[in-house]
Symmetry: C2
């Protein structure tokens, strides 16, 4: 099934707790894999405006992730510090590797990338820089503080 | 882990039976996902020379597939006929959908795309245009004729 990205809805917003939403306010996602009816993995075309983050810095317990930069320049931030990713570069994040990562657009131009993520049951995400954990369930994601208390 | 495609080995060749090898002789793959240590899915950067096919026309029983065209123009061939995919277009092929597909470079320039495929056990591939079937096992792929006789 052919997917023309110009016909795929552009989604903004996040299900993060309120206090974290601003960090990804400039993120626009187009769910190409979903549009093609895929289930095994997601493929999103993401447009990241200057100043925005791809996500809070995080790592997944069960699901591999991969990004490929199509346009612009992004800063990859991990435990290793900051590394520039320009168009044509990629990065992969194996499940269970305890190295939080995210992309930040420190440039003055929009940047575009593909993000690919596995889909597995019982996934969790850890956020080393915030008092936040996520559990992914059949009924959606549950965000808690690190002590387990659920965000309201 | 950052992946610079210029540092990832370029692989040619195929494990298809001898009589089918010529169809993919102009296919060069760089296994970016493997280079990043991913297991849940493969992400390959593929360079397809004029006249070459991405694969024999096929569909997978268990594994979703997705392609995103980065450069050039390719013909997608499915049961629906021929459809042009130019840079920025994509296509997805859900597991079990009995619609053989492949990409053919009918242009005079190299074309480049990302291919993403799930990794599952007990996958099979069906090839509607050839006397060929494939079973993917822990010990590698086994190609048979449609009557089950193994290719030598």
């Amino acid at each position: 099934m052919i997917i023309n990205p110009s016909e795929v809805p552009k989604e903004t917003g996040t299900n993060y707790p309120e206090e974290f939403k601003a960090k990804v306010a400039g993120r626009i996602k187009q769910r190409l894999g979903n549009a093609a009816g895929l289930n095994d993995f997601g493929v999103n075309l993401v447009h990241l405006q200057p100043g925005s983050c791809s996500a809070l810095r995080h790592w997944h317990v069960q699901e591999d992730e991969f990004v490929y930069i199509l346009e612009g320049e992004l800063m990859l931030i991990t435990n290793s510090g900051e590394q520039v990713l320009s168009a044509g570069m990629a990065a992969g994040f194996p499940a269970g590797e305890e190295n939080g990562h995210h992309l930040v657009n420190h440039s003055s131009n929009i940047a575009t990338y593909l993000e690919i993520g596995a889909r597995k049951s019982n996934d969790e995400a850890n956020y080393p820089d915030e008092d936040l954990k996520a559990k992914f369930t059949e009924n959606g994601v549950i965000f808690t503080h690190k002590d387990g208390a659920v965000y309201n």
